[in-house]
């Protein structure tokens, strides 16, 4: 059992395969610290030694406290039944008392487990039990216990064993196992998913997902059809002249056929821009297949540097008329963002895809730079007579978002792309921020594989490496710095120190840490004063602030430096009990269920309260 703990995948770290990232299982909070604790309790409960069973039950009592009302039914039922067995083997109870204990545990098991399967119209227990493979005689035993004669102890014991076995087979040995992906158990799965959804974002209106998915598929097909017709048209043009260079010119003169196709796509774009962008980036269009390159007489260069961030000219001309027609302001934003997203995800596919994505982004950004710069445009036009521009008008984009997208898809080309973005971006980031960002990007991507290490892509989906907020904050800080000469030095110190730290950690290949570090470093220095203040305020008190230099950020809540995963690590060997003097003692009040009946009987003297109640209330009211 213990060995399996090591094999379990580590949920805290992204897996290496991209497929895992897409089918990310729901991360949930449970009562056990880790798998070792779970295994220990399961083994303890089922071991048959009542001392070990009692220890496991004690642990389950802590789980129950952690879970509160969310305690898994199966764990609760198992614990109740095991408790009966422990009592039984202790020999302290007589058979009648044992029957009562076993009885309640069994009744609760049958009812609670089958109630989960109940529908709006109630279904007979027997039928439900049959569905989930609980022996019918256990259901009959429950019936006897609640409505009939109390059964004999032997039968209760047998029932308990059978049910415990059922729980082990259906719950304990399947849970936390490797059978996560097996078919779900019909409606319960959906119910759970819905409630999980509810927990996360209940105020979002839910859509019938399946239908939406189907619609999306159909739409995607539609766009593809039109795009294929565009491709066919361009190839047809090429065949008429039998020369690639000549066809370039022909392509650039728009034909009525191309205009018609363009109009169709624009129409589709009205409906769903995202999907059009998606289709354009699916294999065979802006990202060519090998056969397509061959037809266009383009040699594929495996060496990424050789293309110098340019799309092969023929291929560019092939798509330019379509793109120029489509690239409105909003669509440009969507397309480039989509490209970055694709770039992030395509580490595992052929070399063609990342290559073309990078080059298309680069081409588009350069195009935007030319158009947005205005004057320079003409010079460039003179140089490249045969190549038409992608953009005719200025395209102000949401640059901050693009920067984010770019940073979320780190690869060898990120510094180049980032530089393009930062140059075109209006309003510009402060010079120092740009410098630092570029520096960070190059440090980060240096020496990585074609798309750096696999871990990063899924990390980014949850936390951007370096958010714009932090940049803005840095910019704000720097504005303040201008006014306060004193702080300038401090700031520089911090920056320098951070840079130093980054270099060291880069070698350790701790990507996440490197990237978040500058911020935490700064935050830390800001907090030091506050911590010192708090420490002073706590002088002479039992409460203290740890003086040790601990890198708290490396340790999740519930774990301390040096703490192991030993499931017995938190066991106490001694403790003292303390009773309180000044607190109300409960026993003097009767439980409400028994005295409510009395209350309705008119009291003889018209007394509103009993003497006892009177004291109670008086003590509460004495202050006014």
């Amino acid at each position: 059992m213990a060995g399996r703990a090591g094999l379990a995948c580590r949920p805290g770290r992204p897996g290496s395969s991209p497929a895992r990232k897409r089918l990310k299982p729901l991360r949930t909070v449970v009562a056990w610290r880790g798998r070792a604790e779970w295994d220990q309790v399961m083994v303890g409960l089922y071991c048959g030694d009542s001392r070990l069973q009692q220890e496991a039950l004690d642990r389950v009592s802590a789980w129950k406290s952690r879970y509160g009302p969310k305690m898994p039914l199966a764990v609760d039922c198992t614990a109740e039944l095991i408790r009966c067995k422990v009592l039984d083997s202790s020999g302290r109870l007589k058979s009648h008392e044992l029957i009562l204990s076993y009885g309640l545990a069994l009744v609760r098991f049958v009812n609670l487990i089958t109630e989960r399967k109940q529908k709006m119209v109630s279904i007979p227990l027997r039928q439900l039990a049959k569905e989930v493979d609980i022996p019918i005689w256990v259901v009959d035993l429950r019936h006897e216990l609640t409505h009939g004669k109390l059964p004999r102890l032997a039968l209760c014991r047998k029932g308990c064993d059978v049910v415990l076995d059922w729980l082990r087979k259906t719950y304990w040995s399947r849970q936390l196992g490797n059978n996560l992906c097996e078919e779900s158990e019909d409606e319960e799965q959906q119910g759970v998913e819905a409630s999980a959804e509810l927990d996360n974002d209940a105020w979002e209106i839910q859509t019938p997902q399946h239908e939406a998915c189907q619609k999306h598929k159909e739409f995607h097909e539609k766009v593809r059809d039109v795009l294929i017709s565009y491709k066919n048209e361009q190839f047809r043009v090429m065949q008429t002249v039998q020369s690639v260079s000549k066809s370039r010119e022909l392509w650039s003169d728009s034909s009525s056929e191309v205009d018609w196709i363009l109009a169709q796509i624009k129409d589709l774009m009205q409906e769903n821009r995202e999907a059009v962008a998606e289709a354009l980036l699916s294999d065979g269009f802006l990202i060519p297949k090998m056969d397509c390159l061959k037809m266009l007489n383009i040699k594929y260069e495996a060496n990424k540097e050789l293309w110098q961030f340019k799309i092969p000219q023929t291929f560019y001309c092939f798509w330019q008329p379509l793109l120029t027609g489509l690239l409105s302001r909003s669509f440009t934003q969507i397309l480039i963002e989509k490209m970055f997203v694709e770039l992030k995800e395509c580490s595992d596919s052929s070399e063609l895809r990342p290559q073309f994505l990078i080059n298309w982004i680069s081409e588009m950004l350069t195009g935007i730079a030319k158009v947005n710069a205005g004057k320079k445009r003409q010079q460039h036009c003179n140089k490249q007579v045969s190549v038409k521009e992608l953009f005719l008008r200025k395209v102000p984009l949401q640059w901050i978002r693009l920067t984010d997208s770019c940073l979320e898809a780190p690869c060898w080309a990120t510094p180049h792309l980032l530089q393009l973005i930062l140059t075109i971006m209006r309003p510009r980031l402060p010079r120092s921020s740009r410098k630092n960002l570029l520096y960070l990007a190059s440090v980060y991507t240096e020496g990585g594989g074609p798309l750096s290490s696999p871990g990063i892509s899924s990390d980014c989906s949850e936390q951007p490496i370096y958010t714009i907020e932090s940049l803005q904050w840095r910019a704000r800080q720097e504005n303040q710095v201008k006014n306060q000469a004193q702080t300038v030095e401090k700031q520089d110190d911090v920056l320098e120190r951070d840079d130093g730290v980054e270099e060291v950690e880069e070698e350790e290949e701790e990507e996440m840490v490197t990237e978040t570090n500058p911020l935490e470093g700064l935050a830390h220095s800001g907090n030091l004063a506050a911590i010192a203040e708090k420490r002073a305020a706590l002088q002479g008190s039992a409460w203290q602030i740890t003086a040790d230099e601990v890198q708290w950020k490396d340790f999740p809540l519930g774990k301390l430096p040096g703490q192991t995963d030993d499931p017995d690590g938190l066991m106490l060997d001694n403790y003292s009990m303390m009773s309180l003097l000044d607190q109300p003692v409960r026993d003097e009040w009767k439980p409400p269920s028994t005295n409510s009946a009395e209350l309705n009987i008119p009291a003889t003297g018209g007394l509103l309260w009993t003497q006892n109640d009177f004291h109670k209330i008086k003590s509460g009211l004495q202050l006014f």
Partner: protein, 595 residues
């Protein structure tokens, strides 16, 4: 009807607020009490009958005229007020109030406003636009970008990241924000509570009613209304499931001096008196609940008006408990919210309360039956006005909420547990440093440490084997409390209390770790050190750390304790006990009755 002129946030270039405001505005559906101006309103003016209902967050300043927001009148002398209108709650509505000043004063005011805005706004164009549509009766408000450490912290958790953005329907259309339900009629209540008859003393207003009838919104409105006239009021929270100023599970007494212009998570504050009950409902231990209520109420000095909020549990024992509470707190006014013509809950007239038994107190002997029926209502109507000397004296005011789905449990827009999580996050947001723009993850913060022997420990809601108690305490939410007793401990180990004390709670924290070798608790808490040094008792209740905090921990070494992706909920028995099944059926039938 035109939209009010809106000013763009000045600094939020890429800020969330800018996005949230876009398209979020809608005219309010309900005209405010003052009569509309006789002239047709000029474009983009903010004339009295107009209202702006919005989603988002901002700092609100009234540059000219006056506006009312959830009952609170904002005039130009007020400093900027932080205003929060998240998608999880009813949207706030800004209503323009009629100008009360003479025209001459208006002109002066206008000049002042001009000067102010000239200083403020670099957008001369926008200023010209506003001035072009200016009329003396209108109100001009400035909405500035607002970013607080608390909101930053909340928004950093993925499930809440779109908290201040308008809801988007499946098709991509933006849902118009739903304004808070009816506020007409409430305006009159101002006179009732603010100007009590001289001999009556300060008003003590108890608000009660079933779930989802708008008690909280009413309370906020009432508090704001009172704060228009009074410098401060007190608020007693008896609804342990949905607390206003504290994390959930507490009964508390708070002094309120600032208007409430947002949901609870935006205004977590230290109450004057607080007891940690430790559960979100009191069904399991009503006795301790009453003890706690009594204890907290004893520190109310009757110097300023008190607003008491009660639980939405008004069926069966819940009603009996409410009657106990009424007897105990003897309010001067009871506001009863109800739907369905009192079928869910009888009208709590002084006579009715006088005669009915409570859960722990007895009614006067004439009480015929405990169960509340329609006949009782008849009885009440006929006997109204007949004074009984020994009956409790209070005025009963009742409110019929008419907003759609009022009173239907489970129809609230957000699940109550999410609201509780948000309060906790709002509370923990106080740990964020105000001068750092980025969010620091909780696990990166430096915790406090305290020896086992210095603080007593008690698990409120369940029996935990003492040897295993640290398994319950580790990475849990604890109330930091003070008991009068000295902590005596014979051994090095922790001190476990044998009963749950009713004691002052000074705040909350997360047990960040338990160090077994040095016998130390490590605790993260925003409680200031002056208060923390008094803490000598940790209470562990049924309230847990929001899942998003544990799941969202980034950049840590190894596995995250208590977080797994391997737990399969589709296996039979993996889920929790569902107790609502039967409830649902009955409510369904109930609804049909009214359809």
């Amino acid at each position: 009807w035109r939209r009010r002129r809106r000013r763009r946030p000045r600094r939020g270039r890429a800020g969330r607020a800018a996005a949230a405001w876009r398209g979020g505005a809608r005219r309010g559906a309900r005209p405010a009490p003052p009569p509309p101006a006789s002239r047709p309103p000029p474009p983009h003016a903010a004339l009295p009958p107009q209202a702006l209902t919005f989603t988002g967050k901002c700092r609100l300043r009234c540059l000219y005229g006056a506006v009312r927001l959830l009952g609170f009148a904002v005039a130009s002398h007020q400093p900027g007020l932080p205003v929060f209108s998240p998608a999880t709650h009813c949207a706030l509505s800004l209503e323009a109030l009629p100008a009360e000043r003479p025209p001459a004063a208006d002109l002066r005011q206008l000049r002042a406003a001009r000067g102010l805005r000239a200083a403020l706004s670099p957008l001369a164009e926008a200023r010209v636009k506003v001035m072009a549509r200016f009329s003396p009766e209108c109100a001009v408000v400035l909405l500035e970008h607002l970013d607080t450490p608390v909101t930053r912290f909340l928004l950093s958790h993925p499930p809440l990241s779109r908290l201040f953005e308008p809801q988007v329907r499946a098709g991509g259309a933006v849902c118009p924000p739903r304004p808070a339900p009816s506020q007409t009629g409430l305006a009159q209540s101002e006179s009732i509570f603010v100007f009590p008859a001289e001999d009556e003393g300060v008003p003590v207003v108890l608000v009660c009613g079933p779930k989802n009838t708008g008690k909280s919104t009413f309370n906020r409105y009432l508090i704001n209304l009172l704060l228009n006239r009074l410098p401060s009021i007190e608020y007693m929270e008896c609804d342990i499931g949905q607390t206003e100023f504290t994390p959930p599970g507490c009964v508390s007494l708070s002094n309120v001096t600032e208007p409430i212009l947002g949901p609870p998570f935006t205004h977590q504050q230290m109450p004057c008196k607080m007891v940690y009950y430790g559960q979100t409902s009191c069904e399991q231990d009503t006795e301790r609940y009453l003890d706690v209520v009594k204890y907290v109420f004893s520190s109310y000095k009757k110097e300023v008006p008190l607003v008491i909020n009660t639980m939405g549990w008004v069926k069966g024992e819940g009603l009996l408990l409410l009657i106990d509470i009424i007897r105990l707190l003897s309010p001067s006014h009871i506001v009863q919210m109800d739907v369905y013509d009192w079928k869910a809950m009888a009208p709590l007239t002084p006579e009715y309360v006088h005669l009915s038994p409570g859960l722990y107190t007895k009614g006067k002997q004439q009480a015929k039956c405990k169960q509340v029926g329609a006949s009782e209502v008849e009885n009440w109507r006929s006997s109204e006005g007949e004074g009984d000397a020994s009956a409790p004296e209070y005025k009963l005011l009742y409110v019929h909420p008419e907003f759609p789905r009022a009173g239907i449990a489970g129809e609230a827009r957000v699940h109550s547990s999410i609201l509780r999580d948000m309060s906790i996050l709002g509370y923990l947001g106080q740990l964020q440093s105000p001068d750092i723009g980025a969010v620091l993850p909780l696990h990166s913060l430096v915790p406090y440490q305290v020896p086992f022997s210095a603080v007593a420990l008690r698990v409120i809601h369940s029996d935990v084997a003492p040897t295993n108690i640290m398994y319950a305490v580790n990475a849990s939410w604890v109330g930091l409390c003070r008991i009068p007793d000295e902590i005596k401990c014979e051994s090095e180990g922790p001190v476990l209390l044998t009963q749950t004390p009713v004691c002052d709670c000074l705040g909350f924290g997360i047990v960040r770790g338990v160090e077994m070798e040095r016998k130390l608790y490590h605790i993260l808490t925003p409680v200031p050190p002056e208060n923390l040094r008094q803490v000598n008792c940790l209470l562990l209740g049924n309230i847990s750390i929001p899942n998003c905090i544990l799941v969202g921990q980034q950049g840590v070494e190894g596995e995250i304790p208590y977080v797994t992706s391997d737990y399969n909920y589709s296996i039979l028995g993996s889920g929790k006990l569902k107790k609502k099944k039967h409830f649902k059926r009955r409510e369904y039938a109930f609804e049909c009755d009214y359809a």
